[in-house]
Symmetry: C2
Subunit: 331 residues, 2 copies
């Protein structure tokens, strides 16, 4: 078994190695292939996602991506490496669970999964500007919408979920978001045991804030999924604990939802749990080793129950290294 | 003084009349011009926003809009009347405050204002589909971005606000959202006393959920403003209490943030406070009668402090009519 490891930028360099250590504790034979991508790589070599990184990722199939620093200004030649990687590897579904955890900052009773379309919408990078007028294309296709819907419903079936809420803004975007919604409803017919409803994205933001425990699964186009998954993460203890898995047919990318966190990078206090829980998702869904995923997840929960965590969620907090060591001991 | 009153659909018919009653209690001479718009109007006469309604709104300048039911399916000839009205009347800034209220469902220490661009972005209605591929245009112009930014900074100055956070997703949309951000920063130079920062929309959703009290003002493109203002409303007691003012040079539209709420329409229990607080915004900002706005706002607060409210926020709740009567008594 091979894993392509791409730490990326900032705290990616801190959380990825320790999460790899946790993974090796349950999968000792794992072969690692390290590769570069990100803003630092772009500054060094002019490419945010070098060819050899992409090749390594393709060859391994299983990828573990840390975090990237995205420039907020237009930089000629730069395109987000994670957005590229998701598309190039055909990881069409981004699975982002939020679960209540034994933490003061986490709310009770939450166990939701957001499935985010991962290849199109406003993320296609089709944008123009003459300085006075700028336009960007929001692109929704039947093909990608059906594909992500199918993944969501299959996941729901496998995980014994009851209900999927389709997110859109079809009152304003009847053709694009309407297409996404209609495709989801079409796929839903093959899964009669799973209830389906739909919700406007603005209403979903409100409902998530008011009653996150009322959701089971959400299925959303790319950008809404981006926004709502960050929002949901707030109730699962924050971004330091939010894992995700980008899932395709030929590849899967484990990726903590957080960014490169330049404000705390280099201090050794970044929360590695999002990264650790992301590799657990790789175990469960990609490598089909749910029993190993469970061991990691239970070790994380036991560690938190003992009041051990990094400063973002507990005070006084321990270091990244220390936390990972405790998790490994508990496995 | 004239006010064009458009109840719209659903609970618009219930909350608008009582809010007008509250307004008349402080402005007895007010002349009312009633007009139709919305889904019910579209079904009756084939136009969601009839010409005569638009003419009446133009003539009055001050408009009070209730709520609309938007179809979630593509309906030939239908376009959202409120989106049209905002654009036709040149109401380029949508001002949406969230304030802590003496209610169990409201969080403490919140006093934020979202200023939402109101005329463009994905709301331009430029969408196409062949059934397989659908595209929508996200349009951001320098002109509209500068204009809404100027309104936001002027509002900040007049209201003694300290900081404006510009919301965007310029890491993915450097040309469109980047233009919006750059225009805001350009305008900011004329307001050196107001601090400026920027935040990605996904991060803003997370931060609003975690620490809404950390925000002062937010300035956002249309769609992000839509999503974030619903989210923020969750912490101010819910949509039943969220007011807004669509502000332009020649017109202003007071509009509760909530929709037509078909689930409770006709029961007489809709919360009229969002509508009442919206007309208070019209008084303060459009008619420049802050002292009258304050009387209404204080009466609302006193009513809530006495534990009187509709069932959405208090149990047992009173009726729409009863609540409005109590507010009028307290004025
Ligand atoms: C870094 C950025 C491109 C990315 C996204 O918008 O998808 C991030 O916010 C995420 O959610 O993974
Ligand atoms: C009804 C709908 C068109 C509207 C919008 O999206 O602007 C509503 O959600 C709002 O926020 O006022």
């Amino acid at each position: 078994m091979k894993l392509c490891v791409i730490p990326g930028d900032g705290i990616g360099h801190e959380v990825v190695p320790v999460a790899v250590g946790v993974l090796q504790a349950v999968l000792p034979g794992l072969q690692l292939v390290f590769a570069d991508a990100g803003w630092e790589e772009f500054c060094r070599n002019g490419k945010a996602l070098p060819e050899r990184t992409l090749a390594a990722a393709r060859e391994c199939g299983a990828v573990f991506f840390g975090a990237v620093s995205s420039p907020m200004q237009l930089v000629e030649g730069y395109r987000s490496p994670i957005v590229q990687l998701r598309r190039e590897l055909g990881c069409h579904a981004n699975i982002r669970p939020t679960l209540s955890l034994p933490l003061a900052s986490s709310r009770n009773g939450i166990d939701l999964i957001i499935v985010r379309e991962n290849t199109e919408d406003l993320y296609v990078g089709d944008e123009q500007s003459d300085g006075e007028v700028a336009v960007a294309i929001k692109r929704i296709t039947r093909k990608a919408s059906l594909r992500v819907a199918r993944s969501a419903f299959e996941l729901a079936r496998n995980a014994g979920r009851q209900r999927i809420t389709i997110i859109h803004k079809a009152n304003i975007l009847p053709r694009t978001d309407g297409l996404f919604r209609d495709c989801a409803r079409e796929v839903a017919r093959d899964f009669p045991e799973i209830a389906v409803d739909e919700m406007l994205v603005d209403t979903a933001a409100l409902r998530l804030a008011q009653a996150p425990e009322s959701f089971d699964m959400l299925l959303a186009p790319n950008l809404y999924g981006d926004i709502l998954s960050d929002l949901a993460a707030a109730f699962g203890g924050g971004l330091g604990l939010a894992p995700s898995l980008n899932l395709g047919v030929a590849a899967a990318i484990a990726e903590p939802v957080h960014g490169s966190a330049p404000d705390i990078a280099g201090q050794g206090i970044a929360n590695p749990l999002a990264a650790i829980l992301s590799v657990a998702m790789l175990l469960r869904v990609w490598w089909q080793r749910p029993e190993l995923a469970l061991r990691i997840e239970q070790a994380v929960r036991a560690t938190l129950l003992d009041g051990i965590a990094t400063p973002d969620v507990m005070s006084p907090g321990v270091t990244t290294q220390h936390l990972a060591r405790v998790v490994i001991e508990r496995i």
